[in-house]
Symmetry: C2
Subunit: 511 residues, 2 copies
């Protein structure tokens, strides 16, 4: 079976030794690899050498070599003489909340299976900052590192079992995470990431031995860790850019990872500019009492019939509603606005809301789902304060977009494609986001939800060796700008606090 054309497996034929050519096995292989890879150096680990003599002779001096590369050099991550053996790679999205693994057949590029688990570091703290502070306690870093490595090893064992392979069939790992998670994963002290001038230990860990990291894989397996651009722009976003193809576009596009922290990259094949800013937890449904993460029975879509003013509510798996997630909230705000139940300041309009508007704890609440229709038999409501919080978040989001666009001297309306990354991003209805003025008023075809772009980018690398140079090029070409909360920013923010915006001409599609 032929291997993937630009994959990491190379078939190597080595001249058999003879009395006249008694070059050592390793030198012989190294020479062959250098010729094939057109390089002057290939790192061959001792653990590969222990198998080399037998594998070479078993395969009659024909080998399958599994290689990997970083910005420095090529690494030989394993050898195999048998065609029977599955040679696999593991792509890992090292999320702060959720870690996702995908097993890939290195010969065919096909995904063999996937698995995700809640990052066990959550037991230390749900947010990264709590963990980084914990890392400064005695043995704190070691504990955080242990949690993530053990979590990964458990998931690897389960994934291998379900895919009927052994962990020693995993030769390459491609890991994308934010800068802090990358440090905790590598056991590197993150202390200076959160202190001015915000210095990571390393931005380009490159390839590290899986064994050294304590990861259960082949004894020679190498782990490539996606590089960071700095403390606040990590490998997960570099992987996301790779997957979106932003860096290959002739026209300028934008990639947004929406969340508590919004990460934004704008660019094309010639340049990339990035920034990150706090958009607030409201966007993730983390503020309102009825807000929750997406799951069964959670409202993820709401639409309104503008003529009748009647809501149509959709829950995940069609169960009776029990709460609302971020995308549902954005839909709700858009629906409320379109039906005239909130005004352009996001305030409830008494006349329009009618019996749905109630008073609770001295605050106005809007009943989204009445008690008899809800899962737990309580009214599902949203308060004026919840709405205000959502408006602030959407205003922050839009301000960040405007600021970065203005920094690079273009108008948001000039964007060719608007990539939305992340699970949350994949749930957002762009039409609703435009309606409330959270995202720019682009034609609906311009919006592309790209899901877990970090995992996808990490997976891509396992299928195509050429991407390693592209990853390095992405990292090197990113200009990261600090968002200064100056008067200009505040002016933009104030204008964006209206629905959709004070300058309605920016949102001409919104009636």
């Amino acid at each position: 079976m032929p291997e993937l054309e630009n994959g990491w497996i190379k078939r190597v034929s080595v001249t058999p030794p003879s009395i006249k050519d008694n070059t050592a096995d390793a030198d012989r292989l190294e020479r062959a690899l250098m010729a094939i890879l057109k390089t002057d150096m290939v790192d061959i680990d001792l653990s590969v050498l222990t198998d080399l003599p037998e594998q070479l002779r078993k395969g009659n001096y024909n080998l399958r070599c599994i290689l990997f590369k970083d910005h420095r050099k090529w690494h030989l991550s394993g050898i195999s003489s048998e065609d029977m053996e599955k040679l696999t790679g593991l792509a890992v999205d090292l999320g702060t909340t959720t870690v996702v693994l995908r097993l890939i057949d290195l010969s065919t590029g096909l995904a063999l299976g996937e698995r995700s688990f809640i990052n066990p570091q959550i037991s230390i703290g749900p947010d990264i900052l709590t963990r980084l502070h914990f890392a400064e306690k005695e043995n704190g870093l070691r504990e955080l590192n242990r949690l993530i490595i053990e979590g990964l090893n458990r998931a690897i064992a389960e994934l291998c079992k379900s895919c009927k392979i052994g962990h020693s069939d995993i030769y390459l790992l491609s890991v994308a995470g934010n800068t802090s998670m990358t440090h905790l994963f590598l056991g590197l002290n993150p202390r200076w990431i959160i202190r001015e001038p915000y210095i990571p230990v390393t931005n380009r860990p490159g390839c590290v031995s899986a064994r050294e990291l304590g990861i259960k894989a082949n004894k020679s397996a190498m782990v490539f860790i996606f590089p960071n651009t700095g403390s606040y722009f990590g490998g997960d976003l570099v992987a996301g850019i790779l997957y979106s193809g932003l860096n290959r576009g002739g026209k300028t596009s934008i990639l947004v990872d929406v969340g508590t922290n919004a990460e934004v990259v704008i660019g094309n094949q010639n340049w990339l500019v990035a920034c990150a800013g706090a958009a607030g937890p409201a966007l993730e449904g983390g503020v309102t009492k009825m807000g929750m993460m997406a799951g069964p029975g959670v409202i993820d879509k709401i639409s309104v019939n503008p003529e009748t003013g009647l809501f149509s509510i959709h829950t995940i798996e069609g169960l009776p509603p029990r709460g609302i997630c971020g995308s549902g909230l954005i839909d709700l705000a858009a629906a409320l606005f379109l039906s005239g139940m909130i005004d352009i300041r996001g305030k409830f309009v008494f006349d329009a809301c009618g019996s749905r508007l109630i008073e609770k704890d001295g605050l106005k609440h809007f009943v989204v789902v009445f008690a008899e229709e809800s899962f737990e038999g309580f009214d599902l409501t949203i308060s004026q304060a919840d709405l205000d919080s959502l408006i602030r978040s959407k205003a922050a989001m839009y301000t960040i977009l405007e600021t970065i666009a203005s920094y690079v001297g273009i108008s948001l309306s000039d964007l060719s494609t608007f990539y939305v990354a992340g699970t949350f991003g994949s749930l957002i209805n762009p039409r609703s986001a435009i309606t409330i003025g959270m995202m720019p008023d682009l034609p609906s075809g311009a919006y592309k939800s790209i899901g877990n772009s970090s995992l996808e980018g990490a997976s891509m690398l396992l299928k195509n060796q050429r991407l390693i140079d592209e990853i390095d090029a992405i990292r090197n070409s990113i200009t990261y700008i600090e968002l200064n909360v100056n008067q200009d920013f505040m002016n933009r923010f104030s204008a964006a606090r209206f629905i959709p915006h004070t300058n309605i001409s920016l949102f001409s599609s919104v009636n």
Copy 2:
């Protein structure tokens, strides 16, 4: 305190980070090192990165970096911000029988202490071939590897204790051993070393992490393993050449490591030719009944008064004699020949030997020490068979020397210096070796005993970074020739079986 000029410790000043230059610590250090070392790559292990942020800031962005290099690239083996801390290296002569360690202060180049131990693999087999066969049994290789690594770790612990340092103060290890010992030390399968066409797994292991080898040293310590030229010409000899300076000489010289196997290199600054051949165990005192390794009470020197014919016997530490070592045996043969007690064929001359010649088990024996003078109260004797064996060995030795000299087209008498390596070599009296025709008839000043040249070569490397390129150059310039036991060789051997030789003009200094 300034460091050794060409040593492995480099003082590095790194630009402190700022908001305007928030390059990561590792990238910052890497950049500084690349500039200092004039290289485009420095391998920085994860274990160094774990300490980097604190060490950088503690030393106010000034570091002492301990580096190492192999034929491929530079390695950062450790960092230290404090001048107080001792930075040391360990030179290791990885002998088949005896392992010798020398601790060296990397700042000054001074030796801090030395230690030797019997290679614990001797429990498997005293000779290397037995061990190599044992390595093919189940877990055999692992056991051999365990024995040598644990032996080293015990010796390191003792040496560190006596030198009042911790094992984590050892940053560099420089290890020289023969090809087989090198394989067992690295845990590499030596199976194909002893089978045609005699292929080592690797000839150039380069730098390997001490941690990976299980050696107790600093967690980032690197081990440089001297390269082999092939299965039968190992790193110990490359280290020996380095120490002798054979490869730097304007005139052609020879280096001989005398033992059961004689290893010979001839050459100068332009070329090096090597060979190895069996000289027989007689040279090491391993055949005669009274033969033993050098030790207290062992006869190491014998001279004869040519006029009176009286022997003068010297024992180690002046104790009553209990046996004879190789150098004593050579002296004895020379003394017997000079006093006319043996003829030019090495046969006892009845009339000259007188009462010292006795008959035992149907064989003629010569009493070297009478029972009343010996340690154990028995006659110490040497039989005609013992002498015959010695003659065969010395003839083999001389034939090897003649053959290699003839291969490179020079006469042995043209040699500028004759380096004799090894503990045994350091005991040999060149005058006696010339008398029996074992070594060529050069002026006494031409003979230089260089002791444990493998340990000395390994030690040199720890003091001078420039030698790494020289080691590589030595390895690459060696032409190894197979000694064909053909008619030519047999003719030379036959001539060399006389004392000193059939062609007496080659030994004009011997009366």
